[in-house]
Symmetry: C2
Subunit: 314 residues, 2 copies
């Protein structure tokens, strides 16, 4: 019997006592010199060096955060920039994260029609058994523009494997509203997507009360976040935009239910590169970058606990 994604995520959140999600956004120009040095020592090709350095950087972050948080969110784009070598690094990072007891949300924002969507779903959505899909992820981010029928293949594979998908509903960028905000028949586009997501997710809720279809809602739009939490009571939320993009713990407070569940809040740059600028950079610097990663992760966990119902998890 497969345990649903939402139930597994809740168990992991309760176990780690926090809904903090650590993004894995490696950027070559910003990597610690020891990581790049290690790759350069054994490789010559610049692409192979970047891919190997990404892998080591992410694995060392995973080693730091695995005892602290329920999940990580690798951003596929940064790996894909380094071609097949980068893709292999992403695959290995996902596998390593799962072996370390973390859940993995692959942030690849895929979307296509019919059997093509099915191919993406089969590729990324391993769900409960990390071996069930080659990319081994627990969940995948998905774009809704193509229409409701294009979300169904993702949902079907997710439900079958105990995997999750997070549909883009309200994104965190400044012009998120250009196509998400216009009001037709009394509803914005994002409200219309939210209604579809709620309906599709509610049809197969687990014991947690949440279904396999989640939603991405940016921390940078707290008013919409509150509204969407109410509109999608059976939908697990993935909240980007905390930290570097300007979202605060107070901004994301509306994402959680009374038990501090129902949402995960992501921080990528603010943790991955906390040793490059800000107070943890001053305290630790590049030489102790893993300590900065740990301190910034702990700071985020404390911040969420202090200003949201996630505090009840502790």
């Amino acid at each position: 019997m497969t345990t649903s994604y939402a139930d597994r995520l809740h168990a992991a959140t309760l176990a780690k006592k926090t809904p903090a999600l650590v993004g894995l956004d490696p950027r070559f120009d910003w990597l610690p010199s020891d990581v790049v040095g290690n790759a350069r020592e054994r490789l010559d090709d610049p692409v192979a060096i970047a891919a190997a350095a990404f892998e080591e950087f992410c694995i060392r972050i995973i080693d730091v955060v695995a005892p602290l948080v329920p999940a990580v969110k690798p951003q596929a784009a940064f790996f894909e920039e380094y071609g097949p070598d980068g893709c292999l690094a992403l695959c290995r990072v996902i596998r390593y994260a799962r072996q370390s007891g973390l859940m993995v949300i692959c942030d690849a924002k895929r979307g296509d029609i019919g059997t093509t969507a099915e191919a993406y779903a089969r590729a990324y959505l391993a769900g409960e058994d990390p071996q069930a899909a080659i990319w081994g992820a627990d969940a995948l981010t998905v774009s809704p523009y193509l229409g409701r029928d294009t979300l169904e293949p993702f949902l079907n594979v997710a439900a079958e494997r105990g995997a999750g998908i997070y549909v883009l509903v309200r994104t965190s960028n400044p012009q998120a509203g250009s196509f998400q905000d216009p009001i037709a028949d009394g509803m914005t586009t994002y409200q219309r997507v939210a209604a579809a997501v709620e309906e599709m997710s509610a049809a197969s809720v687990g014991t947690s009360g949440y279904g396999p279809m989640g939603a991405v809602v940016g921390a940078t739009y707290p008013k919409e976040l509150n509204e969407l939490r109410a509109a999608m009571p059976h939908v697990p939320l993935l909240i980007p935009g905390y930290g570097s993009q300007g979202g605060t713990a107070a901004d994301v407070a509306g994402a959680f239910d009374a038990n501090g569940l129902g949402a995960v809040v992501n921080n990528s740059r603010g943790i991955n590169f906390s040793w490059r600028s800000g107070k943890h950079a001053e305290e630790f610097g590049a030489a102790k970058w893993e300590q900065a990663v740990e301190a910034s992760t702990r700071a985020m966990i404390a911040d969420l606990a202090a200003s949201t119902t996630a505090g009840v998890l502790a």
Copy 2:
């Protein structure tokens, strides 16, 4: 001096005298037995076998269609389903297509915010120089849901490198309208996206009269196709949905300008697997599958020439 994507595509279309685009959609269960046999002879791992078979299948299609059409459109999802091995096969297929004188539209429907979008753009959009990006494509399909600011990084890289992007405007699937059709302030969502795409593309038109930002508009919605052609006079169109999805040459006639330019029409399954069913299957069958690929490509070219202004190219 870089030649723009639209100018290069027009030159290729004039040279091949057709706007037919051949999709590359390999599916393992449907591959010719000789292709699978070749991979099985030298490999043991099922994933490696699939990736190698995809590569050979696509390369042999490219060998057949390179003299006939201006461009091919590999579908990333089918390759990604086989993980890093599949990604490597995609990379090699793109490279081989360009070495064979074809332009390549990578159909990956990417989209993300800010520097993440930039990473995708740098990864896929090689433009005029196939070496300028690791995936080596001339153009990439892109999803607009996240907003106008998320299209700009793609446009900037495209303009710089002589590459193109095709933004999803009106997709070919049955429920394309679920989020694309609602009318706000007198405009559907797809019309709103189209207006943004026209404005962004018109700002940098080449000598062809078209800009670097194209649009995906499905052949399965001929009324919307005619309307969108008129609304986006500076936007090159990519038309999926011809053939297996039901679109006819008459349905796509509205996509072209008076010179038979301004659009490419894609056919994937109807060419890749024309030897599995239909009249070319009867004539050639699996043993002569490449001849079926050639015959179905020629039939599509003739069909477009007979029923659209693409006839003036011949």
